[in-house]
Amino acid sequence: MKRSLKIALVAALPIVSAACNDFLTGGELENDPNRPTVAEPSQYFLAVQSRTWTFQTGQWARLVCMWMQQCTGTDRQYTSLGVYEVSEGIFDGSFNEIYAGGGLNDIKQMKAAAQSSGDLIFVGVAQVLEALMIGTAADLFGDVPYSEAASGIGGAGPVIATPKLDDQAAVYAAIQTLLDEAIDNLGSGEGSGPGSADFVYGGDPDAWTELAYTLKARFYMHTAETTPGNYALALAAAANGISSSANDYVTVHSGAAGEANLWYQFIEEQRQDYISPGAFLLDSILEARTDPRLDEYFDKRTPTAPWEGATPGSALTNTTSRFDADRIDQAASQPIVTYVENLLIQAEAAYRTNDQVTALARLNAARATDGLGPVALAGAALLNEIMIEKYIQLFQQLEVWNDWKRTCVPNLTPALTAAEIPRRFIYPTSERQTNPNIPLPSAQPTRNDNDPTNAGCRGQTIG
């Protein structure tokens, strides 16, 4: 009897002991065979690049285009969005673009991966993209999560579950520091950068450096209303900024699915006639001034139709003009940060620092990029013309709204009976419901800190 018991135990032993060794860990048990967990910096870069483009040229650009009356919503939800009928739910997805997939989270991962391989140029590129992403977030929302946002790198670090809001001013300050570091890294000569994954600059560190300087100038301008000393800083930064149209930071598209211009996709493929040219830009500015860009930006609906933009809240007519087919071609590039913007920043900053000669020269240089002859203006009319030129040249860009909030140029009449054009986005429901640091919509300010009421609009009118 005893012997048989022993035999049973001996027989069982190898099975039991085999079981204890790593039966639950390792290999396909612990490592997901379906999804990757590590990426090269250039693979993150591609995702961040696409995300940056959708954030800068997608639905928010269309919304701002309507609020700035360059466009008008003429069907379904866009009719109401265009006349400011927005709630926090509309902005669901916005924070996802800024922080989640392709946003700050992946920028940080890209930065960390580049850092660990000693590719300082790549680190610099990542820092520029981070500044563009977070700076734009601060433009739109004011105070935003930054110092505690996207804190867990790839799930390896602890994630701060409820990131606090950083003051808008602190975010802008951090971005200036970040861009300075980026410029240092880009100039280090160490590493190779994103290379061919970078569809805009091909990884050229000099081009990224110029972009960094223009962004510095842009964000100095955004804070100059409250800190007038920043005009000089902006002027100095812009001096090293984007030096030619060839170095514009623009989207790059193709006709392939998922690679086409977002305006093309929205207007031609997905939501025909949801958005139309705005009467203010088309009729009151371009047509009224017989600006040759009218024909470049827009098409008549039929060859015999008149030029006709849609006024906010109005419906489409049989003769409402369309966006120019070339401008919304599937392969057309969409500008994000440009040489022209850099020139016009210099023009405005020079004017604000009492250098009207430089201001006029830069305005005329900007006009020349579109083949327009020089103008001779001075005083308030010069500043107004600089801002109107920027309003025209930066058509479809988020920056138009930032400029208008600072300057109230052009002098827009709110849609229908609305008292005011919105001056900031509302934090999205998805963030507010999960992050106690986000106030209720009713407790949120209507203006951001860089847009004080008392400075207000200075009453410039269209020249």
Binding site: L24, P36, Q49, Q109, V159
Partner: protein, 1074 residues
């Protein structure tokens, strides 16, 4: 059919070739007759000599005989035992000597099955009176009587709080099972299936979305029900804790048939079944295609016509068509099972081979399911104390399915929307030979790659291809070793492997994808299960005995899915991946290991108090690294208090009484790889308006963080349950009553907790939700007549489960639908049972609503004085749309029950019946909602009339508000542009009560064992005429209320949207036994 007859022929040939069996050896012949107390012969009683492990089964006349070899006859005294389920086992001592021993037995009925062994899982056994919790047993007779080919469906109405819901009546459709309410908010809530100790797969895998695509079988339907000896259902955690972290939704233990010592027995059972659609959808036949009373006319080939039937009243004599009935014909199923079983004193075997060939009721060749099964189970006593065994089953299944549901290429969608005068059966244009539909009646020859609005249902039934081909082998080998009289060691190694080939193909001109689409998927599932148990039993004193079981289990499960969607067919056929221009492949794999140990102790005191305690320790590879192992305890007590009262003989009014109390904990494992924070390959970024950019651009691959953050400390969900009950035997065991109350709390339930996007992630899976389920279960069985010639019994069951979601990490609800579905979507909502449907309703009183600034509840002339829930009628006489998202339906029944009866007459006739009762449980009749929009529903005959809301059956019920009682015109606008249909109005108006009473089973059988039968070479022949689902009593106005669009693929039930219908069946079966 052809295959079926070939199978039958082969079977009979096989049967007849086994005409002789070995004659008796020299030695002792033991023989006799076994009867009931009343003298009726009892067949299939196992009579055996325990000491020698030799014996036989009684024949149909109750006689038995078996031989003991001379070598083993030594004049010793041995125990001869007669045993039959449902009767008290009897033993006598006999002295063995050469020659013949005659021993008769008169068996005493044991309706409560006291003393019978019950399988309680993971190798543990006990006897029924010692159970501290409910274990519902369903034996082979009840399974056979159900005439179901899917074992899950066969369990419908067999046990309280075991709710079974069939997806549709199509061959191969899945059946959904839920035991004692939902405990989780992920997965589909199906219990763990264990066959002969080895867990098997019961996934329902469909290649397309559950709202469309086709039905798919649940994998447990691979089991041939004829192989099953019994099913034990471990319902609550108190019973199922021995299975630890896989058992929270209950465990279904299936024991397959074994061979018994004695002459080889054969049986050939052939069953023929005829099906028809059980309940249709009412359609109007008065108004034709068109709009605003104007007929839609096809001006020229290539015309596209309006989808609605809002045209003029059809001229008298215009032929119209019944678009429901036209699609269905009589279904036919042929099932043949051959079994052979028997054994010598050392070796037993059970063999079965079956073929089930089921042609469904849908017209065309694409509605059938064929299942071929073979099983061999054998055991051999190698040494006196060592028995080895094996049990292997092979399944070969083939299915063809028809597209269903919310799907413009679905069968019912195009059919029921068709105007009455359009003849769908002419689905091929006579000129162009192309697919024509009511919206596109005259295709031009160039229309080979454009859609048809909605597919013609005959095109769907005839031309689309949706196929399944599956091979599966599962089984185990085992060894039982008794090193000591008090010690048993059992080792088993089980496996389950299946390869499942799928094709889903929409031909050219399909409205879903007019240039042709096909999905090719290969699903491979394989698992290995190892278990080693040791059980020690010891009697300390006559009044104190105990059993200790120790066990170990290792389990490995692999899942492999390769699925490729091909777009744009090059040539119209074949439906093969090389014949398309674009492919989108996906691959999913997973590997899960589990390692578990358990111990169970049972102590029996004074033959009346039985204490059980067990603990299981589970280690799963899916648990977070810091949560690698978890404990699952259980304990319980059963006390036969009638023994204390002195009633050992089980006589009198209170012939037996037992109190029981038990507590147990079970778990539900997290899915594989939920600990991991991964990257997305091949993703894209969009803003919700359809425009998007891929992360990969220009042929370069981009990667980015997944929206869900991995949770390193994910652990199993845990359900804790207390169960109390009483079992009574009454009136000399003529009746028995069982009452059970349970209270379970599920904690650490995994939900996707939203994270602030600023963290860089959208969600994390957390152990955070809590769910409660409480309920009552009552079963009463009565045996008023138990004569030798007449036996009549009745059974009643009642069950009620109250579920409530207690906490969802602060959220009010979690969306459980894959996208909203016509304003009606499944959810898990706090304060409600799991799986309620949300959506919008009309404005109703008592909800605190403000209409145009008026607080209607407290304003005279509005809702003031009206009961809560009254329909608010606006000043224009119409109801008002309320855009508040709210719970609009609870598909969980208020209670369920069944009534069962069996009457046996003169031993030969048996009449049985089973009523299945479901009270409450809402269904969203989305089909009606849609058909009102299209003007084909019978209700739209109201068009052009004047109605008053709340009166004469029109939105019958209390109304209030300024326009209450006002007459309004009901016309096309009400249904198509206003809020009177499912497309334009709130979903709540299409919620209907899904209560039903269903005549689930009824049968008459007749057993022949007269001498002429034996002269034919058979021991008996039984004939059975039966009906399944012959009648359903319900107020539901759609198809059969037993339906769900997603079947067992989904968690939310109660969705009816152009589902394919259920069936009623007529069954004839003949069994030849030898």
């Amino acid at each position: 059919m052809k295959h079926y007859f070939r199978g039958l022929f082969l079977g009979i040939t096989a049967l007849l070739s086994f005409t002789a069996w070995a004659g008796a050896q020299e030695g002792t012949t033991v023989q006799g007759r076994v009867t009931t107390e009343g003298g009726a012969p009892l067949p299939a009683v196992s009579v055996f000599v325990v000491d020698l492990n030799v014996g036989s089964l009684t024949r149909d006349d109750g006689t038995y005989s078996f031989a003991i070899p001379a070598a083993r006859v030594q004049g010793q005294e041995v125990t001869l035992t007669a045993r039959l389920i449902g009767y008290t086992a009897q033993s006598v001592r006999v002295t063995l000597r050469p020659g013949t021993i005659t021993q008769d037995f008169a068996m005493v009925a044991n309706p409560l099955r006291l003393g019978e062994v019950v399988v309680t899982g993971a190798g543990t056994l006990t006897t029924r009176e010692k159970l501290p919790n409910v274990v519902n047993s369903v034996d082979s007779t009840l399974i056979q009587r159900s005439n179901e080919s899917n074992i899950v469906q066969a369990l419908a109405a067999k046990a309280p709080n075991v709710i079974v819901n069939q997806q549709s009546g199509e061959p191969g459709a899945s059946s959904y099972m839920r035991i004692r309410g939902a405990k989780s908010i992920s997965g589909t809530g199906q219990p763990l299936f264990v066959v002969d100790g080895v867990p098997i797969d019961n996934t329902t895998y469909a290649t397309g979305p559950s709202t469309g695509s086709t039905v798919a079988p649940n994998a447990a339907s691979d089991i041939n029900p004829a192989d099953i000896e019994s099913v034990e259902i471990l319902k609550g955690s108190a019973a199922a804790a021995i299975y630890g972290a896989r058992a929270a939704e209950g465990v279904v233990l299936i024991t397959t048939k074994s061979g018994r010592v004695g002459p080889t027995r054969y049986s050939l059972r052939t069953t023929m079944q005829f099906d028809e659609a059980s309940q249709g959808v009412p359609l109007q036949r008065r108004y034709g295609q068109g709009s605003g009373g104007v007929a839609a006319v096809c001006g020229a080939p290539g015309c596209r016509l309006t989808s609605g039937s809002w045209g003029p009243e059809l001229a008298p004599g215009t032929p119209t068509f019944d678009h429901f009935d036209a699609l269905f014909t009589s279904g036919f199923m042929a099932d043949a099972v051959l079994t052979a079983s028997g054994g010598s004193d050392r070796t037993t075997f059970f063999f079965s081979a079956g073929r089930m060939d089921h042609d469904g009721i849908i017209v065309g060749p694409n509605n059938n399911y064929v299942r071929n099964t073979v099983r061999l189970k054998a055991s051999h006593r190698l040494l006196d104390r060592l028995t080895i065994g094996g049990n292997v089953a092979y399944v070969d299944a083939e299915g063809d399915f028809v597209q269903k549901g919310s799907n413009v290429s679905g069968l019912m969608l195009g059919a029921l929307r068709s105007p009455p005068e359009f003849d769908n059966s002419q689905y091929i244009d006579p000129v162009t030979k192309l697919h024509r539909s009511y919206r596109f009646p005259q295709p031009r020859s160039s229309d080979t790659r454009n859609h048809r609005g909605y597919d013609n249902p005959f095109f769907v039934a005839n031309e689309a291809a949706n196929q399944l081909e599956k091979g599966r082998v599962y089984g185990s080998i085992n060894a039982d070793y008794n090193p000591l009289n008090w010690l048993t060691v059992r080792w088993a190694l089980g496996g389950d492997y299946s390869g499942d080939w799928r094709l889903e193909a929409l031909p050219l001109t399909s409205s879903t994808y007019a240039t042709g689409l096909l999905i090719r998927a290969d699903i491979i599932n394989y698992s290995i299960d190892h278990s080693l148990n040791a059980a020690a039993s010891w009697t300390f004193t006559p009044n104190i005995a105990g059993t200790l079981t120790l066990g170990q289990n290792l389990n490995a499960r692999r899942f492999r899915l390769n699925s490729t969607t091909g777009y744009d067919l090059i040539a119209p056929k074949p439906f093969a991946l090389q014949n398309v221009t674009t492919w989108e492949p996906t691959e999913t794999r997973s590997l899960i290991h589990t390692e578990s140990y358990f111990a169970q102790a049972q102590v029996d005191l004074y033959d009346q108090l039985y204490l059980t305690a067990a603990i299981r320790n589970d280690g799963f590879s899916t648990f977070g690294a810091s949560q690698r192992r978890h404990w699952f305890p259980k304990f319980g007590a059963a006390w036969t208090f009638t023994s204390l009262l002195g009633n050992e003989s089980q006589q009198g009014i209170l012939s037996f009484g037992k109190l029981r109390a038990a507590y147990g904990e079970t778990g539900k494992e997290p899915g594989a790889y939920q600990t991991i924070t991964a990257l997305v390959a091949g993703g894209s970024f969009g803003g919700g308006w359809g425009d998007y950019l891929n992360a990969s651009q220009g042929g370069l691959g981009g990667l980015f963080a997944d929206n869900t953050l991995g949770n390193q400390s994910i652990k199993p969900e845990r359900t804790k349950e207390t169960e109390l009950g009483i079992d009574l035997g009454l009136f000399d065991q003529r009746a028995d009553l069982g009452v059970t109350y349970y209270d379970s709390k599920s904690e650490d339930v995994i939900l996707s907790a939203p994270l602030p996007p600023s963290t860089g992630y959208g969600a994390i899976l957390r152990n955070a939700a809590r769910i409660s389920n409480k309920g009552w279960e009552v079963s009463l069985n009565v045996r008023p007549i138990t004569n030798a010639n007449v036996a009549w019994e009745m059974g009643f069951q009642y069950a009620k489960n109250d579920g409530e979601v207690l906490d969802l990490l602060g959220a009010e609800f979690v969306d459980k639908s894959a996208g909203t579905f016509l304003g009606s979507y499944g959810s898990v909502t706090k304060g409600w049972p799991v799986g309620v449907i949300r959506g919008e309703d009309f404005v109703r009183c008592g909800r605190g609503l403000n209409i145009d600034g008026i607080d209607i509840d407290n304003t005279s002339g509005h809702c003031q004085g009206a009961p809560a829930g009254a329909l608010y009628i606006g000043a224009d006489g119409f109801p008002v749309y309320d855009v508040t998202d709210r719970v609009i339906a609870d598909p969980n029944p208020d209670w369920t029950g069944s009534v069962r009866t069996a009457l046996t007459l003169f031993r030969r006739w048996t009449v049985t019946g089973l009523l299945d009762i479901k009270e409450g449980g809402d269904i969203w009749n989305g089909t009606r909602g849609a058909l009102l929009f299209f003007g084909t529903h019978k209700d739209t005959e109201l068009r052009g009339t004047t109605q008053v809301f709340g009166r004469n059956g029109f939105y019958e019920g209390t109304v209030a508000g300024p326009g209450a009682g006002q007459s309004v015109d009901i016309d096309q606008d009400w249904y198509q542009s206003n809020i009177g249909s499912g497309f334009t109005g709130p979903a709540a108006q299409f919620i209907e009560d899904g209560s039903y009473i269903k005549l689930r089973e009824i049968s008459v059988s007749y057993n022949l064992d007269q001498p002429f039968v034996r002269n034919l070479g058979f021991s008996s022949i039984d004939l059975r005429l039966a009906g399944r689902n012959l009648k359903t009593w319900t107020d539901y106005t759609g198809i059969d209320p037993e339906t769900n669009l997603g079947g067992a693929e989904v968690f939310v039930q109660g969705i009816d949207y152009f589902n394919n219908p259920q069936t009623r069946s007529y069954v004839f079966s003949i069994g030849l036994n030898r």
